[in-house]
């Protein structure tokens, strides 16, 4: 699925991902292919992006919002200060 992580001044990630683990406000959750449409807020934590079986990326955010629609994931993130 398509994943975009954007902040007001840059794009932190843009590409395909197999699995995304997000720090949701109510607890961590994961997104996989064909996830139902969802809008959720994120709290301070790490986003885990599994791009391929052996490539994993971590991105730290302070807070944010995620929107999933038709295999397109957009994360509006407030970057972490450190």
């Amino acid at each position: 699925m398509q994943l975009q992580i954007i902040t007001p001044d840059k794009t932190l990630f843009d590409g395909n991902a197999k699995l995304i683990q997000l720090p949701g406000t109510n607890g961590s959750f994961e997104l996989m292919e064909n996830h139902a449409p969802i809008i959720s807020t994120l709290r301070n934590g790490k986003i885990k992006i599994v791009i391929d079986n052996n490539i994993t990326e971590w991105i730290h955010i302070n807070s944010g919002v995620v929107e999933v629609l038709k295999n397109k994931v957009i994360i509006l993130a407030e970057p972490s200060l450190n």
Binding site: I6, T7, P8, D9, K10, G24, T25, N26, F29, A36, P37, I38, I39, S40, T41, S63, G64, V65, E67, L69, I74, L76, E78, P79, L81
Partner: protein, 295 residues
Amino acid sequence: MPNLKEVRNRITSVNSTQQITSAMKLVSAAKLKKAQDAITRMRPYAGKLRDILENLSQSIDSSEGIYSRQRDPNKVLLVVVTSNRGLCGAFNANVIKRANLAIETTYANASATGHLYVLTIGKKASSFFSKKSGIQHIASHDELFSNLTFESIIPVAEKVMQLFVKGDVDKVDFVYNQFKSAGSQIITLEPFLPVLPPEKSEQDNQSVSSEYIFEPSKAEIIENMIPLSLKTQFFKVLLDSHASEHGARMTAMHKATDNASELLKNLKLSYNKARQAAITNEILEIVAGAEALNG
């Protein structure tokens, strides 16, 4: 007739001034391009944020949040944004004038009771308001423009939001130059807090919103998103002012270069006239001398 040497000196000095102004114009043009790119980069983010907020607020009344509480404006904070450097025409003077106008008219009550606070961003405003009486200059954040990133504005935006939430101020307004194009900036007084409820658009967003799962509830999502959207607004104001500054400086320097060319043209004319007069004089003297010898 002006002195030849004097005119020559003036030509040299105007020439070097012109070189400086045209170089500054080029530098501003390059910086303007960068500042405009930053605004463009932020657009998808701001657009998406607004989409989601509008989508959510269709079904939720968000007027009761901590950021949207309407209170009588007894204590007012003005955030005045200017540039750190001069040589950009009336750019800074206009902002300061607009801020003063607001202090004297719209917020006369607050300033009479000594509850008018000013937070300045940009050296020009800081030096003006730190000396002005009748207001309380609470802080200046001139350093933001030296490295304008979203991360760097977060602490300042949060500070302003905290002042509002704690009730230290009842209203926060921005005074800044909105960026329209390189040639034109619009002086704007823009409300920041309390947050106005987003306009309910007439479009039928309901069908879209019902497809989504919301986690946590819609109301909580809005509550979490408002600070994010406020920081984005704060960042946009600074980006706008930054781009406007370079636009204004580019225009001012362009005019200065043009004026210098005009001045040079006139100076060269009078230089040539003076030179010609000197030559004519010399010939006259030689001829007169020769006549005297022959006579």
